[in-house]
Amino acid sequence: MGNQYGHMNDKTDVWQGTLALMILKTIETMGPLHGYGIARRIEQTSGNLLSLNYGTLYPALLKLEQEGSIASEWGVSENNRKAKFYKLTRAGRRQLQKEARDWQQATAILARFLSPSGDRA
């Protein structure tokens, strides 16, 4: 695909493995939502700091669905377009809680390492 997205280079790419967490959190906050809506919402939540190929969302959604964290259903969007809506399952909710907790713990540890004061005592 070359360099056609060069104008987005000032944005951060989505880290491996965090996309699933973002998707789950987005669906939890917004309720059932279609793929486009989830992508837009992730970009907005990140304050447009994240660069996201919307296409990469779909394999991630499929993986979550295969694992039973989300379920999908065809429906109609707010502006009357046919779209596939994803909603959180009970297992997905549990997974979200666990992964959010893990993530917070990991970032907290890293934050301590990286804090300028170096105050670890």
């Binding site: 793929g35 486009y36 919307y54 779909y58 964290s69 502006n79 377009r81």
Partner: protein
């Protein structure tokens, strides 16, 4: 759990590709539409709105690609696609495919079926605890290396040995069973009380014999086989405590054996009675040898140590007891006793099946190679276009897998069928002696064997064409237009393969020829009688009269008189034992010859006066028994030629006297000499045998021999019915014609099975070898069409073309036969134990095999040679 679920869904996705694709297309379309809507709302031009939306998505096709990879398992999907392609390729060439599948299937069928027999008899452990620690105990005398023990000897061995944790004795014996309809013979055995404990077998119902239950005073007890429990008592648990009358004695049923229990040494016994050594039985005598021993080795004791210990004990007993003179001992592993007889045959047959599999593989390999050869150009083009070698080799592998899978399925199906056929060929009688064969089947071990063969075949069929395709640089294949030198290389390689095939076929043909000849010679061995048109039946007189000799003889005469009056019956006789069975022996001495207590062991038969005329034996000198030789007259004896030559060298035995070895034995006068009759096994030299007059020395168990003018088969049921009418408490059993008896002796049936199977293998090998040769020559002719055309254009006659082609074939055939004959000389030594009346290096067989194979191979190469000779030179040249 989560991962597993995802994998299963992805696996299922393999079969739902079309539906998934449609749904994804819809979802992406909807996504773009939503994005475009937004873009339009933001004020974009419709064209630009659509372009931006697609850009933001990251392209439609890449998205679909990534999604598909996630939806199924890409590796598996590729494999599936390759397999479909391979199946398509193979279907495009049905001739190649069906030939390869059938040929390989045949090889797999033969080897799997034979392996299943090997598994059932040699690999699967016997159904006892630690079967490898069990041994059989025998006495060893000159005529008989594995002879039964006497009960006192058994007790001494048990008491004196330092090598066994337990020793027991048993004897297979038919019981005359009293039923509501009269008497019936049932298979059975008598065993000492510890027998089942020593084997490590516990009854499924009831209890084992208790210690001391084999004492003479103990009440008689019996354990049922599972089959007898089902058949005679409908599997009713209330059978325990009931009594059953065996040989006139009431026995209490105390247990039922497990369903899978078998003990080949006594055949399919229904009743296992505790041994009772009553004073009126012969058990208490040291000279009564009727028991087999069974023992369990102490930990750490080898069979050899045990054997040495027993031999030493037997040596001491020889010194103590006059009757034990010349009697050694032998300890033999139980496994060896049960399967030792069949092992050499199975090994030979497994080798044969292996060779057939080898030929089949070689045949298919050359087919695969020819195919690869014709695809060299395709491969070269693909390589030039950037196809990786791995990907191309992968295609060979996939094709091999498809081919071999089909052949394996075919082979397994055919193998189950072949196994059933072979079981039928073996027959009920012999199965009774080899009960372990009932465990035959496609079990896990057999399937693993089949899988191993299949994996080997896949490796062979994928490696050889790959190797051939990549050996010379691929560019060569492109440049030379796949003609000429590549053909030559293959021709040389293919020629080597054909020599291998022909040589293997020779080995199999020689083996089959030797076994076939042995079988023929065995059936045509001089029996000293005419076995055709003889009906035989075994008879047990009622137990109530067994101690009254006069009544026993009278009833025997009554039976003979009644049967003699049946229509079509020419003559009737009885004998204590039928021919080709071996059996009872006696120790004799010749009066007037020096005697120091040697054991002059000879075969022993009690026969009625008409025995020799009924068998149509040949009287050499003297006379036969007459009705007048009864209990009121001095004892008389007839001897066979072997006994006369051994014990009366250089004198005329008629009129001389002989006696049993015991000091009190009365003298018997020799009245006649007959030509040797095959009383013992067909494949053994005839034992010296003595015949005594039944009326002077009767037995309540005997066999009836009836000569008919016709229809001896039809007579069998009539015989049994006639005897039953005399007295229903007479038990009759084992009705068979003499021919049937001879054909079903172990010596005959073992050779029959092996000869038929080896013959079948050899025939297939011959066909495959000839087909392989045909393939190579036909290929060579097709490659040389142009050359032949040139030769003919230059004036060569068809005869010269024939010579050209047949010379090429002739070299291959000669090489194949020469190598094959050399190898078969070595292979035949493996057969030696199975041969009869023919040497392992039999020049006749070798010459016949060479001739048969030579003719078949020349025929196979004649067909392409004729095609070559009929080449039209003009067309051949134009075709290039």
């Amino acid at each position: 759990m989560k991962r597993l679920r995802a994998w299963l869904i992805r696996l299922a996705g393999l079969w739902q590709a079309a539906r998934g694709d449609r749904e994804l297309a819809d979802e992406i379309a909807s996504h773009l539409q939503l994005n475009i809507d937004d873009n339009l709302r933001a004020g974009m031009h419709p064209e630009q709105a659509r372009r931006e939306a697609i850009l933001k998505l990251g392209g439609i096709e890449p998205t679909k690609e990534a999604y598909r990879d996630r939806r199924t398992i890409p590796l598996l999907e590729n494999l599936l696609r390759d397999t479909r392609f391979a199946i398509r390729q193979l279907r495009k060439n049905p001739g190649f495919t069906s030939t390869a599948v059938v040929v390989l299937g045949l090889g797999i069928c033969a080897s799997v079926a034979i392996f299943a027999f090997v598994d059932a008899s040699l690999i699967k452990p016997l159904p006892y605890r630690d079967p490898n620690r069990l041994v059989g105990l025998f006495e060893k005398v000159q005529l008989c290396p594995q002879c039964p023990l006497s009960y006192p000897d058994y007790l001494d061995w048990k008491r004196l040995n330092k090598v066994f944790t337990a020793a027991d004795a048993f004897e297979g014996s038919g019981f005359s069973l009293r039923t509501s309809a009269g008497a019936e013979m049932a298979g059975g055995a008598v065993v000492t009380a510890g027998f089942f404990k020593t084997l490590g077998v516990a009854p499924v119902l009831g209890r084992d014999f208790r210690t001391g239950e084999d004492a003479p005073a103990a009440p008689r007890t019996v354990i049922l086989s599972y089959a007898a429990w089902q058949k005679r008592y409908a599997g009713n648990a209330a059978v325990l405590g009931q009594t059953v009358t065996l040989n006139g004695d009431a026995n209490i049923i105390v247990g039922v054996l497990p369903r899978n229990f078998h003990f080949a040494a006594v055949g399919p016994a229904e009743f296992w009675a505790a041994l009772h050594t009553n004073a009126n039985s012969c058990y208490p005598q040291r000279g009564c040898h009727s028991l087999d021993g069974l023992a369990r080795l102490r930990d750490g004791v080898s069979v050899r140590t045990a054997d040495a210990n027993i031999k030493q004990i037997a040596g001491e007993l020889e010194k103590q007891h006059q009757s034990n003179r010349g009697q050694g001992g032998a300890v033999i592993p139980l496994t060896e006793l049960e399967v030792g007889r069949i092992r050499p045959i199975l090994i030979v047959l497994l080798c044969g099946a292996g060779l057939l599999l080898l030929i089949a593989c070689v045949n298919v390999t050359s087919l695969v190679l020819v195919r690869a050869e014709s695809r060299r150009r395709e491969m070269a083009v693909r390589a030039a276009l950037g196809g990786s070698r791995a990907r191309m080799a992968g295609q060979f592998v996939t094709e091999a897998v498809v081919l071999v899978s089909a052949a394996t399925i075919l082979g397994l199906v055919a193998a189950t069928w072949l196994m059933r056929l072979l079981m039928g060929l073996i027959g009920e009688d012999q199965l009774a002696a080899m009960p372990f064969l009932y465990g035959l089947g496609l079990n896990l071990r057999v399937l693993v064997f089949a899988a191993a063969v299949a994996v080997g075949a896949v490796a062979l069929f994928s490696v050889t064409p790959t190797w051939r395709s990549f050996l010379p640089d691929l560019r060569e294949g492109l440049a030379e237009g796949s003609r000429g030198s590549a053909g030559t290389t293959w021709r040389r390689f293919g020629a080597n393969l054909v020599v291998l095939e022909l040589a293997t076929a020779v080995i199999l043909l020689v083996g089959a020829g030797l076994l076939g000849k042995s079988f023929y010679r065995l059936l045509h061995v001089d029996m000293g009688m005419q076995p055709e048109h003889l009906a035989t039946l075994r008879v047990a007189e009622p137990d109530s009269i067994r101690d009254n000799n006069a009544k026993v003889v009278a009833l025997a005469h009554e039976i003979m008189n009644r049967t003699a009056n049946l229509p079509g019956v020419e003559s009737v006789a009885i004998s204590s034992l039928l021919p080709v069975r071996g059996g009872n022996t006696m120790w004799i001495r010749v009066l007037g010859h020096p005697f120091h207590g040697e054991h002059n062991e000879v075969g022993y038969r009690q026969v009625s006066s008409g025995y020799f005329t009924t068998l149509r034996a040949k009287l050499l000198h003297g006379r036969y028994f007459t009705e007048a030789d009864d209990a009121s007259k001095p004892p008389v004896v007839i001897i066979d030629r072997a006994l006369a030559e051994k014990y009366f060298p250089g004198e005329d035995p008629v009129g001389k006297q002989m006696a049993y070895a015991g000091a009190t034995s009365p003298p018997m006068q020799v009245v006649g000499i007959v030509e040797d009759i095959k009383e013992g096994p067909l494949d053994e030299t005839t034992w010296p045998t003595m015949y005594v007059a039944y009326s002077q020395d009767p037995d309540d168990h005997f066999s009836l021999v009836v000569r008919t003018s016709k229809g001896e088969h039809a007579l069998l049921p009539t015989l049994a019915a006639t005897i039953r009418r005399i007295d229903p408490s007479i038990a009759t059993f084992d009705p068979r014609t003499m021919r049937d008896r001879i054909d079903n002796t172990q010596a005959a049936y073992l050779r029959r099975c092996s000869a038929w199977l080896a013959g079948g293998f050899a025939l297939l090998a011959l066909l495959l070898g000839a087909a392989g040769l045909y393939g190579v020559i036909a290929y060579s002719v097709s490659r040389r069409t142009r050359e032949i055309g040139v030769r003919m254009a230059l004036g060569a006659q068809p005869r010269a073309v024939y010579r050209l082609i047949l010379k090429e074939a002739g070299w291959l055939i000669a090489a194949g036969i020469a190598i094959g004959l050399a190898c078969s000389l070595a292979a035949a030594t493996l057969l030696r134990g199975l041969l009869f009346g023919v040497r392992a290096a039999d020049p006749g067989t070798l010459a016949e095999v060479a001739a048969v194979l030579g003719v078949a191979a020349l025929l196979a190469s004649y067909i392409p040679a004729r095609r070559a000779a009929s080449v039209n030179p003009v067309e051949a040249l134009r075709a290039e």
